[in-house]
Assembly symmetry: C2
Homo-oligomer: 303 residues x 2
């Protein structure tokens, strides 16, 4: 591991700890947005959100916001909202009717621990909370910026984004898909939220269209890398390293780019994607270094 790699790993880990603490505060009983919510529902929501995740999406929001010198606390609130959307999608994806997973990060999934009904409602509630967090008075941003964030986040999460990608994925199990179909599906299922994460920093900072577009392109590029690394891990890692069942995609007959083109191709493609992502950051010089290292981290991750 190079010094840079050690450095970015540490930075991501310390941000993840901070994001986890802030989420725990936000989702505590008798707090702001959730005052009056049933305690058992909040327990299921916390189970789904406080799962020790790497918090890559919040990290990307915070780092792109920093690139454009935006207010960190405002960016943190948006990062928390985005993580709520991501966690809602995990809770619902794990349901028996969906991917039917009983284990996530080595822990029982929400429906295993709290029952299916509360898991559905916990996911629903996490999604709602995300939009409340962005719109809330405590998120100190101009109203125009909040509206732009709500619109962009909703578009990334909705039927034309993440939810649509999952719908395609479930509908096409045991179907043969070509590379274009796989890229479309993954671009929606995992790419849309990662793209929003990188765009969000530019929206929060109120940059021009150019910077916002460049960050969106950066997000799309690492989105593809993220999914490719995930597909690689699915065929190479063991359950222990991942904290969840592996080899499932192949077992389910799901087409992936790794299955289609092989692991050698995938590793080369990952290098090319990191280069593309780094090139997009060139206009920002040394200030873009952390994001470039993040792209490398995403491509190289081992769990």
């Amino acid at each position: 591991m190079t010094d840079n790699a050690a450095d970015i790993t540490d930075r991501i880990a310390s941000t993840a700890a901070e994001v986890g603490d802030r989420l725990a505060e936000l989702l505590a009983d008798r707090r702001g947005e959730t005052e009056g919510a049933p305690t058992h529902l909040m327990a299921a929501i916390r189970h789904g959100a406080l799962n020790g995740g790497k918090r890559i999406r919040p990290f990307l929001v915070l780092e792109t916001a920093r690139l454009f010198r935006a207010d960190r606390e405002a960016a943190m609130r948006v990062a928390l909202a985005l993580e709520c959307v991501h966690c809602y999608s995990l809770v619902h994806d794990d349901l028996p009717a969906m991917d039917d997973d009983t284990l996530r990060r080595g822990q029982p999934t929400v429906h295993v621990a709290h029952g299916e009904a509360q898991a559905i409602l916990a996911g629903d509630g996490l999604q709602t909370l995300a939009f409340e967090i962005v719109a809330n008075a405590r998120t100190r941003l101009p109203a125009e910026v909040k509206v732009a964030l709500v619109a962009a986040l909703a578009h990334a999460a909705g039927p034309a984004g993440m939810a649509g990608g999952q719908a395609l994925d479930l509908a096409s199990e045991h179907e043969t898909r070509d590379e274009a179909a796989i890229l479309r599906l993954q671009g929606m299922k995992t790419g849309a939220l990662l793209t929003f994460a990188c765009e969000a920093g530019a929206i929060i900072a109120g940059t021009g269209e150019d910077d916002r577009e460049r960050m969106a392109a950066f997000g799309r590029t690492i989105g593809i890398a993220f999914q490719l690394a995930d597909d690689l891990l699915d065929v190479t890692a063991d359950t222990k390293a991942m904290g969840k069942a592996t080899g499932k995609d192949a077992g389910r007959g799901k087409a992936t780019l790794v299955g289609l083109n092989g692991t050698g191709w995938a590793r080369k493609r990952l290098d090319a994607l990191v280069d593309e992502a780094t090139t997009l950051l060139a206009p920002y010089g040394a200030r873009g270094e952390t994001l470039a290292e993040t792209a490398r981290f995403v491509a190289d991750r081992r769990n």
Copy 2:
């Protein structure tokens, strides 16, 4: 039926037809917010949203907006967003893990027609679309108003509102509950969205706090009436009139105010609630008449 009753029934029906048409337009394939969404997911979403409902919530948004002379097209967009949230809740509430209903308005529920996975995602997607519709540039309202609407809608729909009410309801089947517990549950499960519906008109019009608070109180009052009428229908109507299974609450051991206090008490209480709602509208004189008739309609409905 009095002339007024016939009149309000007609007005609600014609608004319902208009809302249905606008929802159909909004949820068509290859349209604005849903461009690129999978066709089978959109079919499930349309199944859940274009169900011939009475569209009481949109009607309340439009009528309270009219009371304060707000722009009708802006109010219509907010009404459509709110109906998306309501429909998402119906799709999820009907799921096997929740109320396990196979029939709604005489039609198979979404999971029966499209499978459980697509039904979960259709509900998820309808919720996301709601927030996108409010924030969208086509909803012509000042950014401050949009932010206030997103915050209020999210709060009404989330863990401290509708989703929390459903979580309480499912957790407390076969539990004995007193009147206060029932009112809390129903105030969240059905009251929160009806309250938002009435408040929304004031938010859209940018009224002062007084008018907004009065409309919220009006919404809470007809929310209680709505639920009481529903509970009465559950014990008195047959499946044909309701287009769904009846007598289910009693069969599930769910406590209702009707079960606790009897049908005679419930009918008297409904009259008192209509009086309360009408009194709240007194400051608006003749302009408040339609909303007063709506309160009567909600209390008297037979299906």
